[in-house]
């Protein structure tokens, strides 16, 4: 009788511990996910701030290519690229130019990527009249 009770207690203990072990696994996964979400938000924020700085600079620059180079972008197959090693994102800028009789419209499309995932697109443009000083 006493043996039977002892075995039951042991099985009960094992079941309870298994249940808690399962709960701990789930909770640890949630913690890891929370940390990852937080890190992603931080990276997105940094990328957005850098892209906004680039867009603001381009909005007042007559020569988009020179401005991008000064911002640290490097030309790579018709695209200007800027990689942030620490945060792991990269900005890709594509310059377009539309010449009209009255002036030149320069458009720059800034795209942010992390791995192969596109984070956001930020357009910037600058119109310059032909006879502008």
């Amino acid at each position: 009788m006493r043996d039977h009770r002892g075995n039951t207690l042991l099985i009960e203990m094992v079941v309870v511990i298994l249940f808690f072990a399962l709960s701990q696994t789930i909770v640890l996964q949630v913690f890891a996910k929370a940390q990852q979400v937080n890190r992603n938000a931080e990276i997105l924020n940094h990328a957005q701030m850098r892209a906004e700085d680039a867009a603001e600079t381009l909005a007042v620059s007559d020569d988009a290519e020179t401005a991008l180079t000064e911002l640290g972008f490097t030309l790579n197959a018709d695209e200007y690229r800027l990689a942030d090693e620490e945060d792991g994102y990269r900005l890709v800028a594509t310059v377009g130019r539309f010449t009209q009789p009255a002036g030149v419209l320069t458009t720059v499309e800034l795209k942010a990527y992390r791995d192969d995932t596109e984070l956001f697109t930020l357009p910037a443009s600058r119109y310059r009249e032909v006879n502008a000083p």
């Binding site: 002892g6 042991l10 511990i17 929370a34 940390q35 700085d53 909005a59 007042v60």
Partner: protein, 168 residues
């Protein structure tokens, strides 16, 4: 036929239960410590992110609001570099000065040309270590904010209507 249990097998079962309970206690404690650390890290990072965004958004919105002919000026008073924003209210010009003083960001609203400048007359907004402004080009303003944790953030703002002036 079952063998009667010896005292040795009894003690093994007791030790096994004890070890199981011990493992459970240790893993629960570890989990609690990890959870505390993760929670603290997430909340601290979120707060830092929020504070730096608050300062940058504030500066950006201020400059956008006052971006008019002669509306945005850089100045230095009492050794404090500041952003001076001007607006005309009922025929009188008022100045909003934004500066870092005593470990915080301050905003002071006063009639323009007010000779007596006391940095403590302004309104304390949010904690920052330092704030610096620079005109990169006549139409591009850069603000560098160092937050209390030492993290530096820069913000560039293109002036749409006119170039800002650097006053002394």
């Amino acid at each position: 036929m079952n063998k009667p249990k010896t005292p040795v097998s009894h003690s093994v079962a007791a030790v096994f239960i004890f070890v199981l309970v011990g493992i459970f206690a240790v893993s629960s404690l570890t989990l609690t410590l990890i959870g505390t650390r993760v929670y603290r890290r997430v909340t601290v990072a979120a707060a830092e992110n929020s504070d730096s965004q608050l300062v940058l958004s504030y500066l950006c919105n201020k400059v956008r609001t006052f971006d008019a002919e002669g509306g945005v000026t850089l100045a230095e008073r009492e050794g404090l570099p500041m952003l001076c924003l001007y607006e005309n209210i009922e025929g009188e010009t008022y100045e909003t000065a934004v500066y870092a003083y005593d470990g915080a960001l301050w905003e002071r609203f006063a009639p323009a040309g007010d000779a007596a400048f006391d940095p403590e007359e302004g309104e304390r907004l949010v904690d920052v270590q330092s704030l610096r402004f620079e005109m990169l080009t006549p139409a591009l303003l850069e603000a560098t904010v160092v937050m209390p944790d030492g993290a530096a953030h820069t913000l560039r703002m293109a002036l749409r209507t006119s170039a800002a002036k650097e006053a002394s």
